[in-house]
């Protein structure tokens, strides 16, 4: 009954979205205020209907209602409760439901908090947002309906793929989706602006918080996915240039560029047309990501929806929105006024460079991801494009970006002083030189370029701090004055500081762990020991164990350092009951210095076990850096000047009492 209720709510949501698509847009064209207003209640009720549908599906999962095909195919009665809940989006149909739910959430947020928007713009934004919803609700209902029943009801479900039964993985899709679906708002604003035929600094100001929110969640979602791959896939890697990873990375790159170009537009009225184009492209890359992941056209580690009808449907959606958006752009962009002149060496100039390099990076990833498929379709040649390609093309593109990163914020708007900026960065450059020397001194192996890579990261971190120190006149003014300035600095400045600092940390982590990772592959018998990354690892033996829905062989390792016991690691090999699949659980001992990472393999004929042990130096910096970027985004978002609803509250004629 509840399932039918959810199904019905999903259909109703489609109808409401259709109304939201048509009526406000017509109202904006006819200058009919009442029609324009329809967008708001429609967006809110669309959200409520989809929330009902989503909860209904979750109820079916939690109660293990195997009469629902989706539940029977993806859940199992013995699965722990949190994975039953996470199971809702751990499959194609459910994840599309989550997709439209988040889309509706953003639409409703604009309806509720966008009171400072001009009514016609708001009506058009909601209408465009609804057009995306209509497309994806149709997709869901026609090709991927999660509410279909089974007859007869199977006695138990097939279970969720065991490697997906993991907290970080279970909860990263909502973050990831909030990220890339969030860019739909930037898209809707861009299309609405093109329809209106005008765009100004205020537009950028409205769009920026939404983009920032989406970017934050995408950042943390990608980081969670990478963290999961690191500890769950069992070979200690954290990024594989897998198509599914690329799918989320491309909108991240374009979204990062968009954040920066919208800044130029807001402050200086420049890069307007470019910003609009970038907003369209960013969401198009989100759609591309959805297409890549959901259609299964590309060979990839985690893809699990394999159905041509769906692929063609999403491709049609992709072509409709990307093609439509770009066509509208081509028609209308010329009419838009450009403004804000600037010299090449200026804050604007540096942000143009940022955009150029980020977009080139995104294009490289896009072409690399799609090339094998397109080439095969055109010529029949089968080639592979893997990590070595991306490392040698994408990597070098990021070097100038990172070098320019601390310089940009030091330059004035319009016309900057490069020499002056460099002088102010002396401390950061000094820190980088020290880091280079230190890296050479500490590490005796690894590629000769690696210390420079680490120095680059340190320079970015130090550059972020230097900029902050400059702004509060640390050292030049008195301590009280610096403190006062530090307090008065807008939160967005702290957001920038943290985001840039986080990028630096991420770079240090990536280079350190890639260049200086220590790896041992060997056979160990109980009682034998191994020296890894300054630790002594002693293999004690293997024991059989039993978890809630798996059996496992658990290895026991004592970890000692300088003779003192540090910890015990228990990497294991699991065999899940349903579906019967093996997984490996790595034993990881984290520290600031790096992670000790031990994996157990198969028993060997001589009574020993295959063992793989790594020391991954500074690997935590990767995710810590991403977390700091996320926090930076949050702090920036809390800045009053950016806060979505803040300026509107006093003016809203609603009966809701003010807080």
């Amino acid at each position: 009954m509840i399932v039918e209720f959810g199904h019905f709510a999903l259909i109703l949501a489609l109808l409401v979205a259709t109304v939201q698509l048509v009526v406000p847009a017509a109202g904006a064209a006819l200058k009919d205020e009442r029609m324009m207003r329809v967008g708001e209640p429609a967006a809110v009720s669309q959200l409520m209907l989809l929330a009902i549908a989503f909860l209904a599906l979750m109820h079916a999962y939690v109660t293990s209602d195997f009469s629902v095909a989706n539940v029977a195919e993806n859940s199992h009665s013995t699965k722990p409760l949190i994975y039953k809940m996470a199971g809702v989006w751990g499959n194609h149909e459910g994840s599309m439901l989550l997709w439209v739910l988040i889309l509706a959430l953003f639409g409703a947020a604009v309806a509720l908090f966008g009171n400072n928007l001009p009514p016609t713009l708001k009506a058009r934004v909601l209408s465009v947002q609804a057009s995306i919803a209509v497309a994806f609700l149709l997709f869901s209902l026609l090709t991927s309906n999660p509410f279909l029943r089974l007859d007869p009801t199977p006695s138990d479900g097939r279970g969720l793929n065991p490697i997906l039964q993991d907290p970080a993985l279970a909860f990263h899709p909502p973050f990831l989706y909030t990220g890339y679906v969030g860019f739909s708002i930037a898209f809707s604003f861009a299309i609405a602006a093109l329809i209106e035929g005008r765009i100004d600094a205020a537009w950028a100001r409205w769009v920026r918080p939404w983009t920032l929110a989406a970017w934050m969640f995408l950042t943390i979602g990608i980081a969670m996915g990478s963290w999961w791959a690191y500890y769950e896939l069992g070979w200690g890697g954290w990024w594989f240039w897998d198509p599914v990873e690329n799918a989320s990375f491309m909108p991240w790159l374009a979204g990062t560029a968009l954040l920066h170009s919208a800044l130029v537009m807001e402050k200086r009225e420049a890069l307007k047309i470019w910003t609009i184009l970038l907003a369209i492209l960013t969401f198009s890359l989100s759609l591309m990501g959805t297409f890549i992941v959901r259609s299964g056209v590309l060979t990839s580690v985690h893809s699990f929806a394999v159905d041509p009808a769906r692929g063609v449907f999403i491709l049609a959606i992709l072509i409709l929105f990307t093609g439509g958006g770009l066509a509208l752009f081509a028609l209308r962009a010329r009419d838009m006024q450009t403004g804000g002149l600037f010299q090449p060496i200026s804050r604007e100039g540096s942000l143009v460079l940022n955009n150029l390099l980020l977009v080139t990076g995104a294009a490289t990833v896009l072409v690399g991801t799609l090339y094998p498929m397109v080439l095969e379709a055109l010529t029949g040649d089968k080639i592979s494009v893997g990590p070595p390609f991306f490392n040698s093309t994408f990597g070098p593109l990021m070097v100038p970006l990172l070098i320019a990163l601390p310089i940009g914020p030091m330059l004035a708007w319009k016309r900057g002083d490069l020499v002056g900026a460099m002088q102010r960065l002396v401390a950061a450059v000094l820190a980088a030189i020290i880091a280079t020397v230190a890296a050479y001194a500490i590490a005796h192996r690894g590629p000769w370029l690696a210390p420079f890579g680490i120095a680059l990261g340190v320079y970015v971190m130090a550059g972020a701090v230097t900029e902050w120190a400059n702004r509060i006149k640390l050292g030049s003014a008195g301590r009280a004055e610096a403190l006062r300035r530090a307090r008065n600095l807008p939160r967005s400045a702290y957001g920038t500081l943290l985001a840039h600092f986080g990028i630096g940390m991420l770079v240090v982590g990536i280079i350190a762990t890639s260049a200086y990772r220590e790896e041992h592959i060997l056979v160990m018998k109980p009682g034998e020991s191994l020296a890894v990354g300054g630790y002594e690892v002693i293999f004690r033996g293997i024991e059989q164990g039993r978890g809630p829905n798996y059996r496992e062989d658990v290895a026991d390792f004592d970890v000692r350092r300088g003779g003192a016991a540090v910890t015990r690691l228990t990497p294991s090999k699991r065999l899940y009951d349903a579906p019967p699949q093996p997984t490996t659980e790595a034993g990881i001992h984290p520290s600031w210095r790096g992670d000790l990472y031990v994996v157990i393999g198969d028993p060997q004929p001589d009574g020993g076990y295959a063992v793989r042990a790594y020391f991954n130096p500074l690997v935590r910096f990767i995710w810590l850096g991403a977390l700091i970027m996320f926090i930076g985004g949050g702090i920036s978002l809390s800045d009053r000047r950016l806060r979505v609803g803040a300026p509107a509250r006093a003016r809203t004629p609603t009966p809701v009492p003010a807080e």
Binding site: S300, G340, L356, L357, G386, G601, D602
Partner: protein, 162 residues
């Protein structure tokens, strides 16, 4: 349809492969560390043919193991790195290379970063020149008025600290 079904099977096989843990087995490794190091570097460039986007160095599929052994056999037979790779490509095709060779069919792939970068630069230069000619560009009076109006609305309803 059949192809998609085959893919489904492949993905299933792959997921279990990904979770199977050890790729390079201790008994496969060469005694000479320098040679083994070269073998690992070559392996990272070669695709596991039955996997999805994994190198033979990362995969524990049986075929990947065969290829790893083959690489080591060739190295032990004093092949150079390039000879080893040529040998594998001759048997398994270009598909096995994770870093495609620079040739006619991959020209666009390899040149994309450069083309986009240069194209972008050209665009930047062009658009930087254009407004210089029409200095007066910018906002029309009407638009300026509207902008001021909008910004004032914001100011009235909530003073923003500037």
């Amino acid at each position: 349809m059949r192809r998609f079904f085959a893919w489904a099977l492949l993905i299933g096989a792959m997921l279990s492969g990904a979770a199977g843990a050890l790729a390079v087995q201790p008994n496969e490794m060469l005694a000479d560390p320098a040679l083994e190091k070269r073998a690992r570097a070559i392996s990272a460039e070669l695709r596991c043919l039955v996997c999805q986007n994994q190198s033979i160095d990362d995969s524990d599929a049986p075929l990947a193991g065969d290829l790893r052994r083959l690489v080591r056999e060739r190295l032990a037979a004093n092949d150079t790195d390039a000879e080893v790779i040529d040998y594998i490509v001759a048997r398994y095709g270009e598909f096995v290379l994770l870093r495609p060779r620079f040739e006619a069919t991959t020209l666009l792939l390899w040149l994309t970063p450069l083309l986009v970068l240069l194209g972008g630069l050209a665009l930047v230069v062009r658009s930087a020149r254009r407004p210089a000619l029409q200095e007066a560009g910018g906002l029309s009076e009407e638009e300026k008025a509207r902008l001021v109006e909008i910004l004032e609305e914001d100011q009235q309803s909530g003073p923003s600290p500037r």
